[in-house]
């Protein structure tokens, strides 16, 4: 019996010890697991701390100097982003804009009287405006760089008579310093108003000297040819230019004056900033060529040579966007000599010498979105010689005109203008009182703010 109990106790002990053994094994495993967990937790914690530190570091170090290799991405970025300089447009499209220039017109003269209203001794060309509504043009303009060497411009005014190419030319962009060539059909660099489009003028129409010597309408010297300009390396802005032109301008040369290119121009323009807000631009111009025209006097033909000299002066003061003043003046002097053929039956051929001048002076005051302007223009101011066969002719009254103008700019792209002219350019003394209400609108590519 004792033996049996002993065995049982031994067995029990064995079992207990076995259990104890098993128990301790499990415990140690659990402990190990716990430790591993703790370690992992610590690792995570330390990692979190590191992450936080890094975050802080990044925040702080946004300002730090970037290492060399990081500069690379900025460069690739550079190529993919549009510069915005030429409107950021797709390459397939040039920049396109449309300018609508339209006006209502009223004169004390009839449309027929206007058509026949030349300036005696200067031109027989009349005024092509009509009482009522007029459409000057819807002017399409295209421009874009051609390649790294050329920029291309085309201006195509669409009128009721159809579309015409007013300007289509290229300009070089990669000639050596200071040199530039323009060729195609373009507005000559002669004078101030002449080289501008009529829709950027301060007044609806061109002044009398322009009408008498350059063109009866607003087209100006707009010719096929080649222009070379040089921006001189001087401490102030000086541009020198020469042109060879076909010479087809109706008023100046007549449309078939010679068999080839026969007109030459030369001009210089200099500019100084007289103060932070004020700038002057001035310079002389000259254009010369052969002339064959029927606009000297009624029923005549004229063949000869013409030279037109010009002096321009522009002063602009603009302290702020909404306040400023512009003063602009041009003096033109024309010499012409040749033969005047009387087309009447039994008419004769006589030598004609014309030395005549003209001047306009205009001022425009800018106040908020309003502009107020005044202009005076006159012909035969200092010189008015019309010498037929050696005999100086009586020219009668001196032609002159006064203009008042007010315009309102809704935005950079739209303008409404009211203008009144009192014109005393007629030899009989009959005045022409004109009233204009003009609208100019621009859509499409942003226009350039030329000086």
């Amino acid at each position: 019996m004792k033996q049996g109990i002993m065995l049982l106790i031994i067995l029990c002990l064995l079992a207990l010890s076995g259990y104890a053994l098993a128990e301790s094994e499990i415990e140690s495993r659990i402990r190990a697991l716990e430790e591993t967990l703790k370690k992992q937790e610590e690792t995570i914690k330390s990692q979190q701390i590191m992450i936080n530190e890094l975050k802080e570091q990044i925040k702080k170090d946004e300002v730090a100097i970037i290492p060399e290799n990081k500069e690379q991405p900025t460069e690739t970025k550079k190529e993919t982003k549009a510069t915005g300089l030429f409107g950021g447009s797709a390459l397939s499209n040039p920049n396109i804009s449309l300018v609508l220039n339209t006006y209502a017109y009223s004169s004390n003269l009839t449309t027929d009287e206007l058509k026949n209203r030349g300036i005696f001794g200067y031109t027989t060309e009349g005024i092509s405006r009509r009482n009522g509504f007029n459409l000057d043009a819807a002017e399409l303009a295209f421009f874009a760089p051609v390649d790294p060497y050329f920029n291309l411009y085309a201006t195509i005014p669409v009128t009721e008579d159809g579309a015409e190419v007013e300007e289509a030319y290229f300009v070089t962009t990669s000639l050596p310093e200071g040199h530039q060539i323009k060729a195609g059909k373009f507005k000559s660099g002669f004078g101030r108003l002449n080289s501008q489009h009529s829709h950027v003028w301060d007044f609806v129409d061109n002044p009398l000297p322009y009408r008498a010597f350059i063109s009866s309408d607003d087209s100006g010297i707009d010719e096929k040819g080649l222009q070379y300009t040089y921006l001189a390396p001087l401490p102030f802005y000086t541009i020198l230019g020469v042109e060879i032109l076909q010479g087809e301008n109706k008023t100046l040369f007549g449309s078939d004056a010679a068999g080839g290119a026969h007109a030459y121009t030369a001009f210089a323009k200099a500019s100084l900033d007289v103060s932070d807000n004020a700038t002057i631009l001035f310079g002389p111009s000259v254009i010369t060529g052969k002339t064959k025209t029927d606009t000297v006097a009624a029923n005549t033909d004229f063949t000869g040579d013409t030279t037109l000299y010009g002096l321009e002066l522009t002063y602009k003061w603009k302290p702020t966007k909404y306040h400023g003043f512009k003063l602009q003046s041009e003096y033109l002097y024309r010499t012409q000599c040749g033969n005047l053929t009387d087309l009447n039956p039994g008419g004769t051929v006589q030598r004609l010498d014309r030395n005549q001048d003209g001047l306009y002076i205009q001022g425009v005051y800018l106040w908020n979105r309003w502009e107020f302007g005044a202009r005076y223009d006159a012909l035969g101011l200092f010189k008015d010689d019309y010498i037929l066969a050696g005999v100086k002719q009586d020219q009668g009254r001196r032609p002159w005109r006064m203009t008042g103008m007010a315009d309102y700019t809704f935005s950079e792209f739209s303008l409404l203008r009211l203008q009144y002219n009192h014109d005393e350019s007629d030899v009989t003394g009959k005045p022409n009182d004109e009233l204009f209400l003009q609208f100019i609108f621009t859509i499409g590519a942003h226009p350039a703010h030329q000086f």
């Binding site: 730090a64 100097i65 970037i66 915005g84 921006l231 323009k269 702020t320 935005s411």
Partner: protein
Amino acid sequence: MKKILITFLIMFTFSTPAFAKINIVATLPWIGSLASDIGKDKVAVKVLVKPSQDPHQIEAKPSMILAAKNADILIYNGLDLEIGYLPLLIESSRNTKIQPGQVGNLDCSQFINVIEKHEAVDRSMGDVHPLGNPHYHLSAQNILGVVRGITQALCSLDPEQASFYKTNLATFEAKLKEKRKQWARVSLKGKRFIAYHRFFEYLAQEFGFQIVGYVEEKPGIPPSAGYIEKLVETMRRSKPDGIITTTYYGKEEIDSLSQKTGVKSIVIPHDVGSALDINDWFSLMDTVLKSLQ
């Protein structure tokens, strides 16, 4: 006569001496100021737009054409801000170095993250900038990108002085780091302002304030009376923390709004040089932030 000719010839030949400074033409004052900070005495900086002028409405004056002609590098804001005069200026300058695509033609907007890009715009929405908001210089993050870009360009134009430019950049960045710590203490978070023009969007983003309305009915278009009336009403209800504008326009408008609503009007100097004590970009930011508080 001969003497005059010879003098002219000498002038022409020596107009670009070999050890000349790098000629930098910058469109806006803050760009010129950054370029000076990096280039110091190794560069000559000419700024085209005066701090008193509206950067949207600049004419290509002949003197600007002359400056562009003599430039080794033209640095500009981009995003169409200079669209009215810069293309014309670049062409008229007859300067091959600053033509698009050259190292000497540097558009700073390429170094920043542009906001407010518009997919479809037309001008009935006012003078919007389709490429994004171009007034990005009141932001430390943007300036950091720009100043690095300028340094990079100067280094490639003038590799001999590269280490000089890089040292100046490091100095600039160290100062910027310091300043950012200071500016971090400026609390503008949650403030709400009415602005005259979309001029402060990047600043608002960086400093956590809000622009809740504009005095301009549409960008670049002065407000109508009806619009102002509505604005006054909303302002009376919502009580914003201030009406802000830049020094070059909008002052009269925001003053009259302030009188009607009791909300204070704040004129913020918009560029380096627009107030006497603002002689670089840092002092510009200091003043801007101070005036917003």
